[in-house]
C-alpha cells in the first residue's frame, strides 16, 4: 500500500479539525475524530522529524567535504 504522503496526512488532519470545529459531532464521533486527528499530527511530525534527520545526515556527510558547518547555527 502506498504510504500516505505528508501532504495527504496534513490535508486529512485539517479536514478533521474543520469537521470538529463545526461542533455537530456526537461525542463518540468527536472522540474518534479527535483520536484520528492526534494520529495524523503524530504521523506528520514523524515524517517531518525523519526528514530533518535525513537532512542532518546528508549535511553531515557533506560537511566533511565542505569543511564549514552550514547548519551549526541551528
Amino acid at each position: 500500500m502506498a504510504k500516505t504522503t505528508f501532504e495527504t496526512a496534513l490535508k486529512q488532519l485539517e479536514g478533521i479539525v474543520k469537521e470538529m470545529e463545526s461542533g455537530a459531532l456526537p461525542l463518540e464521533q468527536a472522540l474518534k475524530k479527535y483520536e484520528t486527528g492526534i494520529e495524523k499530527v503524530q504521523y506528520c511530525m514523524q515524517i517531518l522529524d525523519s526528514t530533518e534527520k535525513k537532512i542532518t545526515q546528508l549535511t553531515r556527510g557533506l560537511d566533511g567535504s565542505l569543511g564549514e558547518t552550514p547548519f551549526d547555527n541551528e
Partner: protein, 449 residues
C-alpha cells in the same frame, strides 16, 4: 759571379809591379853602351840623362855615390859604356837604367886590344843575351874559382855563410895572375863542368891593375866561360873594373863579395818570406772561417723558431673557444630566463578554484536554507492544526467535573441507564484518571438529576 773575371783585370799598380818584377828579374845588371844626351845635374848631386843610339833612347840616372869614382865628367855627346841596373820607376811608369859604373869609350893600347877582343867576341855572339844562363834561385852547391888565398875567397866564404849558413861551397883554387892563370882558370871551369855537382860557378879575383887582370881579359877564359854549362858569375876587381870575362859571364858582379851576394839568396829572408806567406795563408783561411762562422751564427740567430706563431695561434684558438662558450652560455641563459618567466605566468594562470568553491558553497547554502524553510513551514502548519485539534478535545468538559461512562468492554458511551444492567462493568473517565466500577442500581427516567 764576377770574381773569376775580376782576377783577370789588373789594377795599374798591380800591372806595373808585375812588369817591374819581370824587367828586374830578366835584366838585373846589364852592360850597355851609348851616347849621352839631355844631361842634367841638379843640386842633389845625382845625374840624369838619356842614353841613345841610332834607333832608341833610354832614361838613365847615376847617383851621387857612384859618381864619386868617375875619372871623367859626364856630358852630352859623350859615348860611354857602363854597368847598370834596369828598374821601373812606378810613379811614372818609366823604366830606367841606374848606372853603377861608367867609362868613356876608348882609352890606351891595352884598352884598344881589349876593345878589339871584346868586339871580336861580341861579333861572334859570345856576349849575346840569348846565351846568358839564368842563375839558380837557390843553388845547391857553388863552385868558387879563385885564388885559394887572399881576400876574395875569404870574402866569398864569409858572405855566403852569412847569407845561407848551411850553404855548400866548393873552392877551386887557381892562380889569378901570371901565365899559369889562364890555363888554371880554363881547367877549373872545365873540371867543375865535368864534375857537374855545382849549380853555379863564381869566377872571382880581387882588384888590380889592368895588366893584372890579363887572364880575365883573355880569349880562352872568355870562351871557357861561354862554354860552361854551369852558369858563371864573375866578380873581378873593383866595381870600376870590367873584363872580357865579365862580358862572357852569364852574370857580372862588380866584386867577389857582390858575386857571392848575387848567387846566394839570404836564407833568413827566404825563411821570413815563407813564414810570411804561411802566416798570410793561415790568416786568410782563419778569416774565411771566422767570416763563415759569424755568418752561420748570424743566420742561426735570425732563424727564429715559430714558437711565437704557435703562442699567438693558441691564444686565438682559446679566444675563439671562449667566444663560442659565451655565445652558447648566453643562449642558455636567455632560454632559461624566458622559460622561467613563462613558467611563472603559467603558474599564475593555473585554474582558480576558490571562486568555484564559493559558488558551490553558496548554492549549497541556498539549498540548505530552502529545505530548512520548507520543513519549518510544514511543522508550523502541523502544529497549528494540532493546537486547533487540541482545543476541540471532547474530553475537555471533564475538567469541569463531567465524566464519561463507558461500557466495558465495548467502551460505548453510556447515555441511557437502560443501556446497562446491574453488575455490568462500567468505566468512568475522569478529568484525571479512570475508574472501573460495577452497576449497582439503575434509576430510569428522563431526567438525570
Amino acid at each position: 759571379m764576377t770574381e773569376p773575371k775580376s782576377s783577370h783585370i789588373y789594377t795599374v799598380s798591380h800591372l806595373t809591379r808585375e812588369i817591374k818584377t819581370i824587367l828586374e828579374d830578366r835584366f838585373s845588371f846589364v852592360w850597355i853602351t851609348g851616347e849621352i844626351s839631355n844631361y842634367a845635374a841638379p843640386a842633389s848631386g845625382h845625374s840624369y840623362f838619356s842614353l841613345k843610339d841610332a834607333n832608341a833612347v833610354v832614361n838613365c840616372v847615376m847617383f851621387k855615390n857612384q859618381k864619386r869614382s868617375l875619372k871623367f865628367a859626364l856630358e852630352n855627346g859623350l859615348n860611354i859604356f857602363g854597368l847598370a841596373r834596369l828598374t821601373l820607376y812606378e810613379p811614372r811608369g818609366n823604366y830606367q837604367l841606374i848606372f853603377e859604373h861608367v867609362e868613356p869609350e876608348g882609352a890606351g893600347a891595352l884598352q884598344k886590344a881589349f876593345e878589339q877582343l871584346k868586339k871580336k867576341l861580341g861579333d861572334e855572339g859570345l856576349f849575346d843575351a840569348v846565351h846568358k844562363q839564368v842563375l839558380p834561385y837557390l843553388p845547391d852547391k857553388i863552385s868558387v874559382i879563385t885564388s885559394g888565398t887572399g881576400a876574395a875567397v875569404r870574402d866569398i866564404i864569409h858572405i855566403a855563410q852569412r847569407r845561407f849558413p848551411n850553404c855548400c861551397l866548393q873552392i877551386v883554387p887557381v892562380a889569378v895572375q901570371g901565365d899559369p892563370a889562364l890555363n888554371e882558370i880554363v881547367c877549373a871551369i872545365e873540371a867543375v863542368n865535368q864534375q857537374r855537382s855545382s849549380d853555379v860557378i863564381i869566377l872571382a879575383r880581387g882588384g888590380g891593375a889592368l895588366e893584372d887582370l890579363a887572364a880575365f881579359n883573355s880569349e880562352i877564359v872568355a870562351r871557357a866561360i861561354f862554354a860552361s854549362n854551369i852558369p858563371v858569375v864573375t866578380g873581378i876587381g873593383h866595381e870600376t873594373d870590367s873584363t872580357i870575362a865579365d862580358f862572357a859571364a852569364d852574370v857580372r858582379a862588380p866584386t867577389p863579395s857582390a858575386a857571392a851576394e848575387l848567387v846566394l839568396p839570404e836564407k833568413k829572408q827566404l825563411v821570413r818570406l815563407i813564414t810570411d806567406l804561411h802566416f798570410s795563408l793561415s790568416t786568410a783561411i782563419t778569416q774565411k772561417l771566422a767570416y763563415f762562422h759569424q755568418k752561420v751564427d748570424d743566420l742561426h740567430s735570425r732563424l727564429k723558431s715559430p714558437v711565437q706563431v704557435v703562442a699567438t695561434a693558441k691564444q686565438t684558438v682559446e679566444t675563439h673557444f671562449l667566444r663560442m662558450q659565451h655565445a652558447l652560455d648566453r643562449q642558455i641563459f636567455h632560454g632559461t630566463e624566458k622559460l622561467s618567466w613563462i613558467s611563472q605566468t603559467l603558474l599564475g594562470a593555473a585554474p582558480q578554484l576558490q571562486p568555484r568553491t564559493r559558488q558551490v558553497a553558496d548554492l549549497y547554502n541556498h539549498l540548505a536554507i530552502t529545505m530548512k524553510t520548507c520543513i519549518f513551514e510544514n511543522k508550523h502548519q502541523v502544529r497549528q492544526a494540532a493546537t486547533t485539534l487540541t482545543a476541540l478535545d471532547p474530553t475537555a468538559v471533564l475538567k469541569r467535573g463531567y465524566s464519561i461512562a463507558r461500557t466495558l468492554p465495548d467502551k460505548k458511551v453510556i447515555l441511557d441507564a437502560d443501556a446497562v444492567a446491574v453488575q455490568d462493568r462500567v468505566e468512568i473517565i475522569l478529568s484525571k484518571g479512570r475508574i472501573q466500577t460495577r452497576v449497582e442500581k439503575k434509576i430510569h427516567g428522563k431526567d438525570n438529576i
